[in-house]
C-alpha cells in the first residue's frame, strides 16, 4: 500500500468543498497508476468505515467526500442548534447595525433600508435581548418602535450610544473603500 498516496488523498478529500472526482485527483497528482489509486482510495474508505470512527468517506455525485456517520446525527443537530443560538447571522448583524445608528426605528423603516423583510432578524435580536420594543409610532398602522438595549452596550463595550464609531472614524480606517464607493 502506498501510504504517502493515501495520506495525500485524505488531505484532498478533506479540503474539497465538493465531492472529489477521480478526474480532479489525476489533475492534481499527475500520473498515478489507476490500480494504485483505486486501492489507496479503498483502503482509506475502509479505515474510516471502522465502527470506532465518527466520520466516513462516502461516494456521491461521482466523487469522494467526508461526511458524519448517520448514527451521530443527534449530536450534529444539537451542536448546530447551540452554534446558531450563540452567534449572529449576517442578516441579524445588518439589522442590528441599522437599529443602532437609526434608533428609534420601525420595522418598515429597517426593511426599507435593507431592501429585504427583516421580521426574522428582529425576532432573533429580540430573543438575544440586543434590542427592545419601546412603544408605537404615531403613524398609520401604529408600528412598533425598536431600540438597542443595555445589553447591546455591554456586548460591544460601550458606555453610551454616543460611543458608537463615527462615520469618519470608520471611513478613515477604510480609506480605500471610500475611494471605490464614492
Amino acid at each position: 500500500m502506498n501510504e504517502q498516496l493515501k495520506a495525500i488523498l485524505e488531505v484532498l478529500i478533506f479540503i474539497s468543498q465538493e465531492p472529489l472526482t477521480l478526474n480532479k485527483i489525476k489533475e492534481v497528482l499527475g500520473e498515478v497508476p489507476e490500480e494504485e489509486l483505486d486501492s489507496a482510495l479503498q483502503a482509506l474508505q475502509q479505515d474510516y468505515a471502522d465502527s470506532r470512527r465518527g466520520i466516513q468517506i462516502i461516494q456521491s455525485a461521482g466523487g469522494y467526500l467526508f461526511a458524519t456517520k448517520p448514527e451521530h446525527d443527534q449530536w450534529v443537530r444539537r451542536f448546530l442548534q447551540i452554534e446558531k443560538k450563540s452567534k449572529l447571522s449576517s442578516a441579524a448583524l445588518e439589522t442590528l447595525s441599522i437599529i443602532a445608528y437609526h434608533q428609534p426605528i420601525t420595522q418598515a423603516e429597517i426593511s426599507a433600508i435593507r431592501g429585504v423583510d427583516s421580521t426574522y432578524s428582529l425576532k432573533t435580536l429580540l430573543q438575544k435581548k440586543l434590542i427592545k420594543i419601546v412603544g408605537r409610532k404615531k403613524a398609520p398602522g401604529n408600528p412598533l418602535i425598536y431600540r438597542t438595549t443595555e445589553r447591546f452596550l455591554q456586548y460591544f463595550g460601550l458606555n453610551s450610544l454616543d460611543d458608537l464609531p463615527k462615520e469618519e472614524e470608520i471611513a478613515k480606517i477604510l480609506e480605500e473603500e471610500k475611494q471605490i464607493l464614492s
Binding site: 468543498q17 455525485a61 466523487g63 448546530l80 446558531k84 449572529l88 471611513a171 477604510l174
Partner: protein, 266 residues
C-alpha cells in the same frame, strides 16, 4: 554598505507587503525611524544604553538625505526622530554641575523607546516562525455537508463589523439612487447560456466580480436573475460564506450539459 542592508533585510524578514499596503513594496527598507535607528546602532555595535548621540545623529541624517532607503510616505515621522536626536545632542552639550545620574540622562527617553521597539521586533520574528508553520496547515473554511443546514452564515461580530456594515449599507443605498439604466437588450436566454458556458469552461465563478464587471446595470440584473434561475433549477450551487464576501458559483456535477434551454423560464 549595500550588502549590509540586504543582510539586514533577510534577518528582519521583510516580506513584500500585501496589495492593500502596496505603496510600501518598493520603498520598504526602513519601515520607520526606529527601525533605521536600531539598524545604525547594530551596525556600529553600540550598546543601546550608551549611544554616542553625535555619531548616530550624523549617520541618521546621512540616511535621511539619501532618501532612497527610507519609506518616503513616512518622511515626517523620520524627521520627527531626527529632531529628537538633535534635541538630545544639544542637551548633552550643556555643561553639568555634577555627574548626571541615569535618570537625568537626556538619552533615556530614546533608549526606552528603542528597547521597547527592539523587544517587539524579536517578538515579530518569533511570531513569524509560528505563522510560517500555520500557513501550511489548512482547515476547512466551509461547513461540511450536513442535512438541513439552513442559515449557517454565522459570524462573530465586533464594533467594527457593526459600524462597517452600517456605513456600507448606506453607501450602497446612495449609489443605487444614482445609477442610470442604459438601454441595450440583454436576453435572459443568452445570458443563461453565457453563464453555463463559462462555468463549464472554468469550473466556478466569483459571482460578485462577474456581477460588477457587467457593462450596464440592466445586464448585471439579468445576470443576477439568471443565477437565481439556475439555483432554482438545481443547475448550480452558490455559496456565500460571509457577509460581504464573494458568492462562489459551481455547476452541479449531475446537471445535463446544455439542457437548460427552454426549461429556464416559463
Amino acid at each position: 554598505m549595500n550588502q549590509e542592508i540586504q543582510d539586514y533585510q533577510v534577518q528582519s524578514e521583510i516580506t513584500p507587503a500585501s496589495a492593500e499596503e502596496g505603496y510600501q513594496v518598493k520603498l520598504e527598507i526602513f519601515e520607520g525611524p526606529l527601525d533605521l535607528l536600531l539598524f545604525l546602532i547594530r551596525k556600529k555595535k553600540i550598546d543601546i544604553h550608551d549611544i554616542p548621540i553625535a555619531i548616530i545623529t550624523r549617520d541618521y541624517l546621512e540616511y535621511l538625505e539619501k532618501k532612497n532607503q527610507i519609506n518616503l510616505d513616512r518622511e515626517a515621522e523620520f524627521l520627527f526622530i531626527a529632531a529628537l536626536l538633535i534635541y538630545i545632542k544639544s542637551q548633552m552639550l550643556l555643561p553639568r554641575e555634577q555627574e548626571a545620574s541615569q535618570e537625568d540622562d537626556p538619552r533615556k527617553i530614546l533608549v526606552d523607546r528603542l528597547e521597547e521597539y527592539q523587544k517587539i521586533k524579536v517578538a515579530c520574528t518569533l511570531l513569524r516562525e509560528k505563522e510560517e508553520i500555520q500557513l501550511q496547515c489548512w482547515s476547512r473554511t466551509f461547513q461540511p455537508p450536513i442535512a438541513n443546514s439552513n442559515d449557517l452564515d454565522l459570524l462573530e461580530v465586533d464594533l467594527f463589523d457593526l459600524a462597517e456594515n452600517f456605513f456600507l449599507i448606506m453607501k450602497r443605498k446612495e449609489k443605487e439612487n444614482f445609477k442610470v439604466i442604459k438601454g441595450k437588450d440583454v436576453s435572459v436566454e443568452e445570458k443563461l447560456k453565457e453563464i453555463v458556458d463559462y462555468l463549464e469552461k472554468n469550473g466556478s465563478m466569483d459571482f460578485l466580480e462577474y456581477f460588477s464587471s457587467r457593462e450596464t446595470l440592466e445586464e448585471a440584473l439579468v445576470s443576477f436573475f439568471c443565477l437565481l434561475e439556475l439555483i432554482k433549477n438545481r443547475m448550480v450551487i452558490a455559496v456565500q460564506e460571509q457577509l460581504f464576501q464573494t458568492i462562489r458559483v459551481w455547476l452541479r456535477k449531475d446537471h445535463q450539459p446544455h439542457q437548460h434551454h427552454g426549461q429556464s423560464h416559463e
